[in-house]
Amino acid sequence: MKYKNLNNYAFPDKEGRFGEFGGKYVSETLITALEELEKVYAKVKKDKSFQEEVIKDLNDFVGRPSPLYFAERWTKKLGGAKIYLKREDLNHTGAHKINNTVGQVLLAKKMGKKRVIAETGAGQHGVATATVAARHGLECIIFMGEEDIERQALNVYRMKLLGAEVCSVDSGTKTLKDAMNEAMRDWVTNVEDTHYIIGSVAGPHPYPEIVRDFNSIVGKELKIQSKKEFGKYPDIIVACVGGGSNAMGIFHPFIKETKTKLVGVEAGGSGVKSGKHAAPLSDGKVGVLHGMKTYLMQDKNGQILSTHSVSAGLDYPGVGPEHAYLRDIGRVEYQSATDQQALKSFHDLTKTEGIMPALETSHALAYVNKIAPKLSKSKTIVINLSGRGDKDMFTVAKEDGMTL
């Protein structure tokens, strides 16, 4: 299927779907909570004072707008297209994740919830949630897979300092998907006083829409910044895709601007052919998990496969339903980068630009590393630099054979 005209692109539809994807595949107990969230969100979406409150926090608390930075030395080194970085790493707490939590915590308050919960992989979403919970004085529980607690120890401590309780999840594969299962179990038990702050454009409707909207500030800013910086929209925008929130945030305002090519980069792990990866859009099948119909890594019996990626934040067997749709209609191209390619790009950017990217982000960099030299110097590429790499020190050191 190839898209023809995107002028009327307006998803999700009334059923919470993006084409066949999305929906609300949850237990009956959660339906009421989702319907309430849907109603309240529809209201605040049009509520000027609410939106102003969000913008105020994004400016004064998060430090927006984030700069559009010309990576001059890296551009020269690669010798092709001009490369710009949208600096989400400079946000308070160090990643794009806070754009979403700043909005969702205000939603939670609007609904009168006293307690927020979240799942986290890399710990960035957990930290971003714990941060806004501290700022608003809400009780906060973060679910995190045992394996991720180990590889993201710094973020675990940050969350604790912020007053959050970090619950170790030791079921299943002990990573992000299992943390999400456990968060769902908590939510169904405490649904009356608890808001679940999902950290990506995943989960049941209306989450993919809410998380996309709060993150789309990134793409909106880029529209203005790119016009100012180089007089047009970028030729190519590249972002890494785990659940897909940083990518959707920067892509969404450009969906109808079809001259701008959009590329999402999934975690190729040891290589897509090896089967050890986290790239459901490259090598997955349609199914249902965590409340949504989307592409999933699964076997022929519908069991979800364990994933592999050097970056905890991309180590997820599913992907947001809007990405699944954009893939099928051909509006966004999805590629993958391996662990090794990502690690190399991590070092490259650190050394040539003095910017240490998150390992998640490094996957997007790896793709640009491959294509930029082949493009003419008149082309511009913007990468969503979704987060900074401080949290990954231990992983990088280990990969490099060092102990800290």
């Binding site: 059923e15 929906g23 609300k24 595949y25 949850v26 237990s27 009956e28 107990t29 959660l30 339906i31 009421t32 909570a33 079921s171 299943g172 998907k177 299992d178 299962n181 769902m184 179990r185 169904v188 038990t189 405490n190 649904v191 009356e192 199914g287 249902v288 998990l289 965590h290 409340g291 999933l296 699964q298 022929k300 019996n301 519908g302 069991q303 979800i304």
Partner: protein
């Protein structure tokens, strides 16, 4: 009359129905079959058989581990269908209801209803398929006379309940608490009022499940419903390698509810 209708029709004589839940292939296929046969022999009226899934989001720790044990034995959907067939060959009357998650059922694609029918399955419960998403699934099952058993929860309001009842069959499963399987059941009166409310709106039988772990609770729950579901406690015996105790426990429940 379907097997499910027959079981509940005996209910005219005020016999309450005992529904048991175990996971297919837990702790392995052979034992799982033996446990199912023992359950029938000791009074189970309906067998709910869990389809093991890698991500059982609505289950508490005990049932999660049962899913994991079964998956370690590499249980395939076809093994589960075979298990149902074998039970059906030996027992023509006991209704079999498969309970699981949407992604497992999707894996059989458009062959699902036919395969279930051929295996002697009577109904399906899909934990993460709420009414809103279930229309085509419901219709496909109907073609092969498989009932889609609806879960109703404490948070289901009456408007929604009425819509759901319009496309329900078999029986209704009232989830007694907000939470996961194996949680603590605290508020009996709330359950009672809700079940009464449901029964005032439909002729379909209503069974109560989640949090029933002993005979006294079972007795109370059965006093205002058409039957009860017990799962975690049975699986607890399996986890503790005391499967021989399952029969006596089942008998005690059956006695308590009638």
């Amino acid at each position: 009359m379907t097997r499910l209708e027959k079981v509940f029709n005996q209910n005219e004589t005020k016999n309450k129905v005992l529904v048991t839940y175990t996971v297919a292939g837990d702790p392995n296929l052979g034992s799982s079959k033996k446990i199912l046969k023992d359950l029938i022999a000791s009074g189970a009226d309906i067998l709910e058989i869990g389809v093991p899934f890698s991500d059982p989001m609505s289950e508490g720790p005990v049932i999660q581990k049962a899913h994991e044990r079964a998956l370690k034995k590499n249980i395939q959907f076809k093994d589960i269908l075979n298990l149902c067939k074998q039970i059906r060959i030996e027992n023509k009357n006991v209704p079999i209801v498969l309970m699981g998650y949407m992604n497992s059922f999707l894996s059989l694609k458009n062959k699902l209803a036919k395969e279930l029918n051929q295996a002697g399955v009577d109904g399906v419960i899909v934990v993460d398929l709420p009414y809103d998403e279930s229309k085509s699934f419901f219709n496909n099952l109907k073609k092969e006379n498989i009932d889609l058993i609806r879960l109703i929860s404490p948070t289901t309001d009456s408007k929604r309940l009425k819509r759901m009842l319009a496309s329900s069959s078999g029986y209704l499963y009232y989830v007694s608490l907000k939470g996961i399987t194996g949680a603590e059941l605290k508020n009996f009166n709330e359950v009672k009022n809700k079940v009464k409310k449901i029964k005032s709106l439909t002729n379909l039988p209503v069974v109560v499940g989640f949090g029933i772990k002993d005979a006294p609770t079972a007795k109370k729950m059965a006093s205002f419903s058409d039957g009860i579901v017990v799962g975690t406690k049975i699986i607890d015996f399996i986890e503790k390698k005391s499967t021989p105790k399952i029969s006596n426990f089942t008998k005690s429940l059956k006695k308590a509810i009638n």
